[in-house]
Amino acid sequence: MITDFPSSPLALPDPADLTAELAEFGGAAMIPKEVRRTIFPVITKEDVFNLLLAQRSDAAKVVDGFAEEYRAYVGARRALPTASGTSSLHLALVGAGVQPGDEVIVPAFTFIATAQAVVAAKAIPVFVDIDPLTYCMSPEAAAAAITDRARALMPVHVHGLPADVPALRALADRHGLALVEDASHAHSAKIGDRVAGSFGDAAGQSLMADKNFPLGGEGGIAFFDSDEGYDRAADYLERHGIDYGMSWVAGAFGSSQLKRLPYYDAIRARNASLLAAALRETGLFTPPHVPEGHTHAYNMYRIGLDPAAVDLGDLPVWAVKEAVHELLTAEGVPAREWQNTPIPCHLPFRERSGFGNGYPFTLNPAAVRDHAPTDFPTIVAMLESTVVLCRELRSPVEWERVSRYADAFRKVAARPDAIRKLVAEREYVRPYEKAARLG
């Protein structure tokens, strides 16, 4: 079969499954192997039809039409559609006035592309720690990193939760810095009524196929709060012969998907709240923190662990996490680490060859640091005590599936003995002692 339709339905939740033997020790998995695949993105007849129709239009019109519709949805002043999120971030930085050799303050916990986009703009990423509750850039840490060469703050609305924009905006204004958002996880995320991507002087956002708002492959969009910012970015592309254009295929798919984005958002919010209620009952697990007035987009759902709540407080939390990860995976829950070490500990930022011969790092040697993971204690603590779900909350994840995920967490939390046994038997290591992983 070439279709992505599921091969069989998932059984409805059954209370008896909660007390059955763990899959790790030979019991039945909460989500059986044959029905584990999470299909994403949702592709409908309408998407196919719209793509076929787009062939009859001018390619530039298709792309510009998409950009304009989505710009209006986000509420940004100007939008520039791009080939990827990384290229959109590069252009957002350029639009915000970042120049070669400038310092851009970024969280050390993000996807590597955030920092690589800074290097693409020939600027130097200065890495800072995160807030322990939101996991977004810590305004205090950012403040401590500001020097005379700093040009921009670049928070990431990581996992889909908007960063502390009011505090960061105030900090940026105090020091005459630009505020550039990485909104790649945060489609439809909000603070009050305002949508992520419209908070900063500029923003970049990924629209690649694994994001909450996917364009059927690769894509991105840069937003600007001023015409000058937009013009700077557009001129830069022309002047330097850089081709960052979006394909009409992506644009057409995006226009079609945008109409269903509110539905997708509603499903994720529903699934997130169902799961949060279940996790709270377990003691061992805690759902993501969402500050008052913030709307979390749940591109990723990072779950905390509190071993002491189930009498495992004597074990190292990272070992408990590894055991839980193993038990959940056996139950058919594709829990992930999503990052196991701070970004400056990845090879490109340890070696810093950049464009070649160390450029642009050579422009501003004072801004460059050799980092160890423990330079970012809050990030390390988060990596050691959390597991992540990704596609598992998204449409078309139906009620029975998310209920089964919830039951898998209940089943595992009810077995501290099993966790203790695995910790004793296995030779787990801390996340950052493993090779740095991109995702």
Partner: protein, 217 residues
């Protein structure tokens, strides 16, 4: 390419549900790589999402980076030259009396000349070949072709989630020293775009010197 054929390709890929370039199950990107390597008689292809990305990968693949020099092909446009300058590479002219020896050759495909890819590639002598697929009509797309495994490796490393990162389970640790990635871009091509480009190339067929009785058109 006929609109009907494009429609068929788009429908086929959308129906498969596999539209992500970093998906293990994707078959479209490898299929385009195969067609390009076969047609150009080079052993390795690096697919990217634009002409400038291909120029970048062709240079980086040969370890030509910021502060270095390179001879550009005669076919390089003002825009290509501006891009090379942005990368930090200084364009040089062939030494007096010497034959041109560009760092890469450049072929710009359109529906009209797509059939000539094989013969144009046969005439190309530089260590890498940039093929711009944008003119086929599916959005920015290009490839770097080479027989040098080192060029391929370094070129792929320029892409976040290039072939390497996927093979190593998304780690960037590298056994061989000197192969660590530097700056990286998302130069990944979408499977949907790749599938359309492949269809256009396949339909154009080949007008190689052999097939046309040594009169390449």
């Amino acid at each position: 390419m006929e609109q009907f054929d494009t429609a068929l390709v788009l429908s086929r890929v959308l129906t498969s549900g596999v539209v992500m370039s970093i998906e293990k199950n994707d078959r479209e990107l490898p299929a385009l790589e195969r067609l390009l390597t076969k047609r150009t008689r080079r052993s390795k292809a690096i697919l990217v999402n634009s002409r400038s990305a291909a120029v970048h990968a062709a240079l980086t693949g040969q370890d030509i980076g910021h502060g270095d020099t390179a001879e550009l092909p005669a076919a390089a446009t003002g825009r290509d030259r501006a891009f090379v300058d942005w990368v930090g590479v200084t364009a040089t002219a062939p030494a007096d009396g010497a034959a041109p020896a560009p760092a890469f050759d450049l072929i710009t495909l359109t529906p009209e000349n797509a059939a000539d890819l094989a013969s144009a590639a046969a005439d190309a002598t530089a260590p890498t070949l940039v093929v711009d697929l944008t003119g086929l009509g599916f959005g920015p797309a290009a490839a770097v072709l080479t027989d040098d495994a080192g060029v391929w490796t370094r070129g792929e490393r320029l892409k976040i989630f290039g072939a390497f990162d996927l093979r190593t389970m998304w780690t960037q640790e590298e056994a061989e020293p000197g192969l660590a990635p530097g700056v990286q871009f998302n130069y990944r091509l979408s499977p949907l775009v790749a599938a359309c480009a492949r269809m256009a190339l396949a339909q154009a067929g080949t007008r190689s010197a052999e097939k046309t009785g040594d009169t390449p058109r």
